[in-house]
Amino acid sequence: MTTTRLRITHAGPHVSYQDGGRHGMLRFGVPESGPMDCTAHAAANLAVGNPAGATAIEVSPAGLAVECVEGQVTFAVAGGGFLMDHAGTRGGVWETRTLRAGETLRIMRGHWGSWTYLALAGRVRATEWLGHTATLATSGFGGGLLATDGEIVIEDSRAEPARERSFPCPVFARPKAQARVVVGPQDHRLEPEALSALLDGVHVLSDSYDRMGVRLRGPALAIRDALSIPSEPIVAGSIQVAGDGVATLLLRDHQTTGGYPKIATVLASDLDQIVQLRPRARIVFKAVTPARAVEIARQQARTKAMWLDTLAHHA
């Protein structure tokens, strides 16, 4: 079995190992973590012949650069409009190529997008916590952050030039400025005008954006006596409103419980596209009924599954 080693010549902040996520442990205070954009993560993995939920590297706009010091490995980069420079050839991501000893790969911020994924054919070595390598940024549990001068090790690595190709970013993986929400569960705890301020107003993503969540700027959402509600479970996509009327959209590494009222919840099936917006991007919220939300989730799952299936079977 072959092992490929990459030396990390640059790793910016917020670059981490992520597998498909640690589901089913919210009751123990453990959020799902896993990729911010699950669609792009799965696409990169499938394009190199890995399982969809295999460990890959989540790269932020701060970028990642590596040098292959031993072995050779087919890789794919997918997610956002990032740029890459592989062995001196510069271009967009959404590509599968092969990295050989002595070659370098640099992944950089591009025209759009907040997260991209580097998948490597084989098994990426990373520390597991509770059976998963997904990194929980707040505690560092799981695979953890990548650091400059560190190493990425791919066990049972494969070089499969037959997989090399580009697979353009599909429409459903582009950023979306309209997030669909189901109103509640604590909309009744806010002033009636708060809901119209959320749904009719234009909000802007602030710079306060990380794996835990993103704070929004927009019309203040008046809360009533809602600051003393007992702590209750939170999911990724919850829009919680703090005492100052500022809304925060909670993301993959969210706290599992909290006492601020949640005015609405973004559909899980819209989150992959929302997280590809950048700070200062505008966002609007559109309310849908719970039944419509389920329909949307099913439609999107079908469309994504068909596309991911074609990626997996292209060799």
Binding site: L26, S139, P230, S231, P233, T256, V294
Partner: protein, 229 residues
Amino acid sequence: MTLRLAPVAEHALLVEFGETIDDATSERIVALDRALAAAAPDGLREVVPGMVNLLVDFDPLVTDHARIEAAVRDCLTRPVPASAAGTRREVEVCYDSDLGTDLSAVAEQTGLGVDAVIAAHLGGDYRVRMYGFTPGYAYMSGTPAAIQLPRKPAAIRGVPAGSVIIAGPQCIVTTLLMPAGWWVLGRSPTRILTGDEDQPFLFDVGDAVTMRRISRDDYERKARREDPA
């Protein structure tokens, strides 16, 4: 007590039993949690107990809010499973003053002596109500009225893992080095994040907990042994 069911996005239902934290509400939450575990409806992914409510998370490709609501209502009509009583767990605590850094402050504010504060804490009847904030933070009820204090005005940074902290009727054994605005009474070598694959968390919601005092020597020995490093 009014039951309120609220949809959460396309994949969950929040079942709320009331607005105030009390034992009767907690018992209903634990009972529904166990009932759903005993007869899981199709598509159920996870049940997450809160203080006055419980989140039922489901796979929208398999089921929907209406079916989950029907399953919840069905569970509520059934007798409470015997497992709802939970398991009794023990937490060992060393109350030496350099570990229980707020013992004297609590003694001063409650008008009790340090020994009486420790005795009161040991006498509490603790029950795990929910996990929250960060992995393994189990919120227990049962801190006796005599030593109940509101949180500190501001969180103190760097409270070590294993700290036994109280605020109001609540008590937590911390699992990570974290800021905390709660009162630190002692330190425990008992690991809540066990590192055991089959039972990674010591408590489940609904478990009863007894505090047991241990000596400094015992603490040091066990803390070393339990240290995952």
